[in-house]
Amino acid sequence: MSGAQASLAISVFLASAVEATEAFTIVLAVGSARDWRSSLLGVGAATVVLAALIAILGPALTLIPLDALRLVVGGLLLIFGLQWLRKAILRAGGVIATHDEKLAFERETAAARAAPRERGLDHYALLVSFKGVLLEGLEVAFIVLTFGANQHDVPLAAAAGALAVVVVLGAGAALRAPLASVPENSMKFIVGIALSTFGVFWGAEGAGASWPGDDAALPVLALALLAASWLMVRSLRRAGSSPAVETA
């Protein structure tokens, strides 16, 4: 496995693990507070929609000329990555609250208990699970497809994403509790750096620029973004903010 392939696999794995952890919390809360059968039906329906999207868009993306694909997908990844990174910097700098799966679970559970109940299929449980898995899964699908298509290795990206989901589900099933010990905020920081690095690299290549050292520029870019982010976190901490915790 080349360095670029390893970077791709690690980036997709981490991004997918973060999203899978958040989706797992929603499904666990709704399933345990309401009805497991309806909740799992929602998960199944969302999985079918996501699989169909990947099956249709995956091959379609590989038909686009590489330069155009890299420009568009690199630009989108950069937009996506910079937004992840901005939130991660603001969290680390104490400006916005850090994410806490235990609190997110408690909030989802309280909302699920408060919603009216029905006989038979529980539409609340079905819809909340469906929406949770679909929205978190769309981000995973987007990252898998864009990374995979740009590196001409959709199977590797899909395998890394699937492995992350399996690991998170395995850990969640073993614990039967929200995965509060997953270092989600740190993982989001790393994913923000990875998405932005690949985004700027592919976006510039698609725009016609050449990187000195080709793929060797990737770790240098990542370090530059990491250094800039670290300086911003330090500056925010110096400016002073009281740390907080968020649930969403």
Binding site: L82, S196, V200, G203, A204
Partner: protein
């Protein structure tokens, strides 16, 4: 319905800060112009990316602090 789907796609891709998206479009356009003129474009791409990030963080930090009083 179409507006709803379009809005959801926009929200998914652009997120809560359209200015970052506009900055990325601007920096890639400038990169393409420099590359088309056979000039080294990557230094501008790197500097502009970091500048967009700093701008975005500063703006968000300032508005959050203002909102928090």
């Amino acid at each position: 319905m179409t507006g709803g789907v379009g809005g959801a796609v926009f929200e998914f891709l652009v997120g809560d800060d359209w200015r970052t998206a506009a900055g990325v479009v601007g920096l890639l356009t400038a990169t393409a112009l420099l590359a088309a003129a056979s000039l080294p474009a990557w230094p501008l791409t790197v500097v502009a990316t970091v500048a967009v990030l700093i701008w975005s963080v500063k703006r968000a930090g300032t508005s959050r602090r203002r909102a928090g009083g």
